[in-house]
Subunit: 216 residues, 2 copies
């Protein structure tokens, strides 16, 4: 699949069919993740492939607890809309994937990480995006579940203290790839025009060339 | 370009030819960035396109200061190797790009950011990876310069206090896309086998299927 097609058709998927993801496909998307760039070629990531129903069930319990707290942020119609959204697919997805960042890998002096220590976390996110796009090309859906207590999930997966849980993903063949992002389709948020996000040479200096032509 | 081809041929580029990047191309890769997923559809990113030589010169000075500190981490042969590496291309690259994360965008209660506040930074990194891969398809090189004082660069670009500078990128047509990552080619680091990075159901439980077949 063309890279732009993957970028525009990628979705955060929450509803999965039950058919399994073959090992071959999973290995291809993990290898795509592993070929992201990383600060100092640190490759700080690990990938925990979860197929155990019991592990999924326990992670889902953490989701339910955290989602119970999160919905308290909303009231009235917004609360009703929040409660109508499907925000996880942990149990249904044939594969869950924990993506971690080992902050001590390659020792204390990692080339390029001296000034901005979080660049190892940032590298790990680049790997996740590689995986997400490669999955799209394989017709495999990925959903990033961020409504979780990372400490609880780390303990469940026996992840060491000095390793950060960056992402918990649900992976499987989707019921559908939506035409637009789910939160846009549901009326939760709208897409910001690109022209409002791009500046020239300093913050808040608009780029006139973007005024005329919203969609490239 | 096929997504896998972009993933495997993407490089962290430090040496640029002088020819400019047309606005059309730049807008296509920025729009690809903007179509990454984001927590709660927050779209927390901004992109500051820098073509001013004076701004580049001042950012380059921050690089020189930080690189002077960073090289103190190494001694002997490793230090000599470090000093031989080209770690920035700020002045030569026709375009520099600061990518930021506005942590207050969409108000205090962002859907999905209740349990893990840094998910907005993580979303911004996913946008950067979209841009990096789209650029590769356009034959445009991108280098992520992390040897910078983020506070100094923020002040120079008038970035508000509550906005995080996530990345400073150099963008332009590369002298070449190397066969392998620069730090691998230079003998600084080696690629970790995928089989060492993937576990099943818990930390450190190896996945036997990966033992036999290193390259998918």
């Amino acid at each position: 699949m063309d890279i732009y097609q993957a970028v525009y058709a990628r979705r955060d998927v929450r509803s999965f069919r039950g058919d399994p993801v073959p090992d071959d496909v999973l290995i291809r998307i993990l290898d795509a993740a592993h070929h992201a760039g990383s600060v100092g070629f640190m490759q700080p990531w690990n990938f925990i492939v979860i197929r155990s129903s019991e592990v999924k069930r326990q992670v889902h319990e953490s989701f339910l607890r955290e989602n119970g707290l999160a919905k308290e942020n909303y009231a009235g119609e917004r609360r009703a809309l929040y409660e109508s959204l499907k925000l996880a697919g942990i149990v249904e997805a044939p594969v869950n994937l924990a993506v971690t960042c080992d902050r001590r890998r390659k020792g204390p002096a990692v080339l390029g990480r001296n000034s901005i220590p979080d660049t190892d976390l940032f590298s790990t996110c680049c790997a996740i995006q590689n995986l997400w796009l490669a999955a799209r090309a394989e017709e495999v859906g990925v959903g990033w579940v961020s409504i979780l207590d990372p400490q609880a999930v780390k303990e469940l997966l026996l992840i060491p203290d000095d390793v950060t849980l960056v992402a918990y993903l649900c992976i499987g063949y989707p019921v559908e790839f939506g035409e637009r992002p789910m939160l846009e389709q549901a009326g939760w948020e709208t897409r910001i025009p690109l022209a409002d996000l791009v500046f020239v040479d300093a913050w808040n200096r608009r780029w006139p060339v973007l005024g005329d032509r919203e969609k490239p």
